[in-house]
């Protein structure tokens, strides 16, 4: 089995993603407009929202991989599911760090039990348990199937968590929500570019990580 970066198309794709991501960073820092009452804090949103998107996308991939593992019974789906779970948890961690950094100057507090942040926190904690479960061992075949089931039940719980938190305490969620789609073009286009950059990074990380996991399993 070849190393990931010894394959030419992977090297080209990585270079492409690196360039896009570098342009994205420069664009966020130097090109996006400063908002009067938010200043630098607003720029966190170009990282925060795409990270949340990638995090939920990763967990969606975990669920799909879980279904596919049950249908096809092919270990590659487990490798993909594990890789997506790792990447998802990494990006959810970024969401949980950048969210409070933005919230402090804007909302005056580090933490609000806001539906999206709360859903992120619950999923993040669940996936820490998921990794513990995978690493505590047992029959490897069984762990694969059971992890797939965990990935499925975690994702089907997402809409319920979101709805529950939304109905929970409306008064503590009265802070202004930031809807990126209603922003002016100067903010919206760099945001979409950032979203695409993060998605490309996710694809690269997913391919790389699942390759590594497959390699490790062979060894």
């Amino acid at each position: 089995m070849e190393l990931f970066f010894s394959i030419r198309k992977n090297r080209i794709f990585m270079s492409f993603v690196a360039i896009i991501f570098f342009i994205n960073l420069l664009n966020i820092i130097f090109n996006t407009p400063m908002i009067a009452d938010q200043h630098w804090a607003q720029k966190i949103f170009y990282v925060h929202v795409p990270s949340a998107w990638v995090g939920f996308l990763s967990y969606f991939v975990v669920m799909i991989s879980g279904f596919m593992l049950f249908i096809k019974n092919n270990d590659n789906w487990d490798n993909l599911g594990l890789a997506a779970a790792e990447i998802g948890t990494f990006f959810m961690g970024i969401v949980l760090i950048t969210g409070p950094i933005w919230a402090k100057p804007i909302w005056g507090t580090f933490w609000i039990w806001e539906p999206r942040l709360t859903t992120t926190l619950i999923l993040f904690l669940f996936y820490l348990g998921y990794f513990m479960f995978r690493s505590f061992g047992g029959n490897i075949e069984r762990i694969r199937r059971q992890s797939a089931a965990l990935g499925i039940i975690a994702f089907i719980n997402v809409p319920i968590i979101f709805l529950s938190v939304q109905f929970w305490e409306p008064e503590i969620q009265s802070h202004p929500q930031v809807e990126m789609v209603s922003q002016p073009a100067g903010i919206l286009y760099p945001f979409i570019f950032s979203l695409i950059s993060f998605t490309l990074l996710f694809i690269l990380m997913l391919r790389y990580r699942s390759h590594i996991i497959k390699f490790k399993n062979i060894l």
């Binding site: 047992g138 059971q146 797939a148 039940i153 719980n157 319920i160 938190v165 109905f167």
Partner: protein, 227 residues
């Protein structure tokens, strides 16, 4: 459900209830643990009953959550002895029915425990018993169905791994968080004699959890316990 499946299901339920009837381990341990939690709540909540009544619904469900964890773990731990679980899943039994039998028996155990413990809970915390006690119990039974669906599904997953007693709460608590919000809201509404319109949305959320995780458990259990 065909006659054969019905018989199979009743046999599995009978097995669960018979084991518990003979050993009384699950209900007894849940009951004693629940009383110990009430004791700690009563001693540590140094506030007036006007304030405490606002927390009582949350306390009740926190206690229920803890006792569910030990009850469900015990229910599956039986199966580990002499590797009975491997024998059970290798028997010609629909594995979805194993989940259903664990779910129903778990529901009976937690409901029985709650029925015994509900009066001491309010009395030891020096609170009035809810005026609409029947409604409180009825809605608690619905919530118990949801809790047990999730708890048994996760327990079936982790039971044969090392450190299952640690993994179980770590995985269950985040999954149960929406149900806990709903349970607290419903019970708070009943304790404070709020009208049904205020908390009916939470009943719908609990019903959706029961249906979703009941179906998921039935469908996935076959793959989860496969040898």
């Amino acid at each position: 459900m065909g006659v054969f499946l019905k018989k199979m299901f009743y046999s599995l339920i009978k097995k669960e209830l018979l084991i518990e009837f003979r050993s009384k381990q699950i209900i007894l341990s849940m009951l004693i643990f629940g009383l110990a939690i009430i004791l700690i709540f009563a001693l540590s909540s140094n506030v007036s009953s006007e304030i405490l009544i606002n927390y009582s619904a949350g306390m009740f469900w926190l206690m229920s959550l803890f006792i569910v964890v030990i009850g469900v773990h015990r229910s599956f731990a039986y199966e580990k002895e002499f590797d009975a679980f491997s024998l059970l899943v290798s028997a010609p039994v629909d594995r979805g029915l194993i989940f259903l039998s664990k779910w129903v028996s778990g529901f009976i155990f937690i409901t029985t425990t709650q029925l015994i413990i509900i009066i001491p809970f309010f009395k030891l915390l020096l609170l009035d018993i809810p005026a609409d006690l029947y409604l409180f119990i009825l809605t608690s039974m619905l919530i118990n169905l949801g809790m047990m669906a999730i708890a048994n599904l996760v327990s079936g997953i982790v039971i044969r791994s090392n450190f299952s007693e640690i993994l179980l709460p770590i995985l269950i608590f985040p999954l149960l968080s929406p149900l806990m919000i709903a349970a607290t809201k419903i019970s708070y509404g009943i304790i404070n004699s709020q009208s049904y319109e205020i908390w009916n949305v939470w009943v719908l959320i609990v019903i959706s959890i029961v249906v979703l995780f009941g179906l998921a458990g039935y469908a996935l259990f076959d793959f989860i316990v496969e040898e």
